[in-house]
């Protein structure tokens, strides 16, 4: 039981770290000297960074909001997991935790979809960066984690 609990907790923490890195790292679209993410668009010229804030367009602000919300909800679900671990009756399921985790995964999915659809046509060598890949990766992991919490029962 303790091992399962520890495993689930470590899984949750890994997902949290993935979400954080994906939201913050400046690598959603990389190509040559230019790298953009949700917050800045940076150009490396002659070894120096030249960053300007991302466009004011509506869709990128929506993606920003969704990624931040997913990180927040993952944090909330971790917090509630800790709470429910001590206050749940025996045999109870971690529904509260599961709800927040599944909502977090839905937000990541929506954010990644909006970014995929609306990201501007890229120049020749520009491709999606690792932060974008992490966002897509964290969506199924988060969903699986939420489902685990639904199935998991508290035992002694």
């Amino acid at each position: 039981m303790l091992l399962i609990l520890l495993g689930v907790l470590i899984f949750h923490l890994i997902i949290l770290v993935l979400l954080f890195v994906s939201t913050i790292a400046n690598a959603w679209t990389v190509g040559g000297t230019k790298s953009t993410d949700l917050w800045y668009s940076c150009l490396t010229t002659n070894g120096a960074y030249h960053c300007s804030s991302a466009s004011n367009e509506d869709w990128i602000q929506a993606v920003q909001a969704l990624m931040v919300l997913s990180v927040l909800f993952c944090l909330f679900s971790l917090f509630f997991f800790m709470c429910q671990l001590f206050t749940l009756v025996k045999g109870g399921r971690f529904f509260f935790t599961a709800v927040f985790q599944i909502l977090a995964s839905l937000f990541v999915m929506c954010g990644a979809i909006i970014y995929t659809v609306m990201s501007p046509d890229r120049e020749g060598d520009a491709a999606f960066g690792f932060a974008y890949v992490l966002a897509w990766l964290s969506f199924p992991l988060c969903l699986v984690s939420g489902l685990i919490y639904i199935v998991l029962r508290k035992r002694e």
């Binding site: 991302a54 004011n56 602000q61 929506a62 909001a65 931040v68 919300l69 927040l72 025996k90």
Partner: protein
């Protein structure tokens, strides 16, 4: 230590006289406006001297892409002189108060051609050493949404909804607990005076009841966990 103090005092004394002679001019950094609207460009200054009667304000304008700036406004000798030949003729108005160190101008009926940099230079004799300050004017058809407004509103809306759901949940639980208590009281009360008795009992224990309910619930949980441990 003494040498450091001496150096510091020399530096400070050296700086202060210069500061007391320099004039500092304040304008905005950037102004956004809609086509066809009016905009007030503010300019004020700070000077260590009293505002003299010979105070002068002058505004100049450099269009986006142009190399030179043209002068569009000058206030001197107590009278304002507005542009009467350039791009702003009949569109400028002086709305400042030189006695209060305010040299603002009003631009009317803006157009896309008014995009550019407006520079204000003020002089307060004998305080004439200073740097002119510039404000950039951007004319839009539709004022764009500032960065972060949509982000903030989405996050705020979702968190607010979450808070609302939590509050409603706890409210419902509280109300249901009350109703349960009402039902059990009406059962125990006498038939004839059933309603009255239950109503009278409702008023006072309401204050005491929630804590009793919580105490009972936690006791139940403790008993259950003790049983489970055994």
């Amino acid at each position: 230590m003494l040498t450091i103090l001496a150096l510091a005092s020399v530096v400070l004394l050296g700086i202060v006289p210069q500061q007391s002679e320099a004039i500092v001019i304040y304008t905005g950094w950037e102004r956004h406006a809609l086509v066809g609207s009016d905009i007030r460009l503010s300019c004020s200054f700070f000077s260590w001297r009293w505002t003299s009667d010979d105070v002068t304000f002058s505004w100049s304008y450099r269009a986006d892409g142009a190399r030179d700036a043209i002068s569009i406004f000058h206030y001197t000798g107590g009278a304002p002189y507005l542009d009467n030949k350039g791009p702003f003729r009949d569109r400028l108005e002086f709305v400042g108060n030189p006695g209060r160190r305010d040299g603002s101008i009003l631009l009317k009926n803006l157009d896309y051609g008014d995009n550019g940099t407006f520079t204000c230079d003020a002089k307060n004799p004998p305080d004439i050493v200073g740097r002119a300050s510039s404000v950039r004017l951007l004319v839009f058809e539709k004022v764009p949404i500032q960065a972060g407004v949509i982000t903030g509103s989405i996050i705020g809306a979702v968190l607010g909804l979450l808070l609302l759901i939590v509050v409603i949940y706890y409210l419902m639980r509280f109300l249901v607990a009350r109703r349960v208590f009402n039902l059990s009281v009406s059962k125990h009360g006498k038939k004839g005076k059933g309603k009255e008795g239950s109503q009278q009992r409702q008023a006072s224990p309401l204050v005491v009841d929630p804590s009793k309910l919580k105490a009972a619930a936690s006791e139940k949980k403790k008993q259950e966990s003790r049983k489970d441990k055994k």
